[in-house]
Amino acid sequence: MAEAVYILCALTSVACAVLLLRAYRRTGTRLLLWSGLCFVGMAVSNVLLFVDLVLLPTTIDLFMPRLVATLASASVLLYGLIWDAS
């Protein structure tokens, strides 16, 4: 059950990133670029989540890289919102 949720998290974040970046290419709205890049980071974080908790043994902990990827995604979006969108 947990594995399915991790995979779905990864798939939905990839789908969000693709749709947002495609919309950016079509319309050129820069907010869509920042949101898309944010979801690219979230996709990385979610793939790492699956690799960490399902594929790798419990002796290896990827918590920190996952957290850094999430923080980077949130920061990219916040950067875009503060410097670009207003």
């Binding site: 949720v5 998290c9 939905t12 789908a15 919309a23 949101s35 957290l67 916040l78 503060i82 969108a85």
Partner: protein
């Protein structure tokens, strides 16, 4: 300690983003922004709960269910927006 602090930083960043989207929604009345604000608020709550729960707490998996719901909300928001623009709406 560092992990808790970073989780707090992530929560703050999601919450700040949610407030930006809330403002855009109030300005433009475009409900895409309302969905985004809601989804990023969910992600912020997600990080707060992740910081508060122990690593071996068995309820930890539910964090990712909430995260999945936030992503699905974003996907629905984009689909809803595309449908509206195809109909000639805003």
């Amino acid at each position: 300690m560092l992990k808790t602090m970073l989780n707090g930083a992530v929560a703050m960043a999601w919450l700040a983003s949610a407030l930006f989207f809330l403002r855009f929604w109030l300005q433009s009345k475009d409900r895409l922004f309302a969905f985004f604000a809601l989804a990023f608020t969910m992600l912020a709550g997600n990080s707060v709960v992740a910081a508060l729960l122990d690593a071996d707490d068995e309820r930890r998996h539910y964090i990712y269910v909430a995260r999945l719901l936030a992503f699905l909300l974003i996907l629905y928001a984009i689909w809803d927006k595309n449908r509206a623009s195809r109909r000639g709406g805003v």
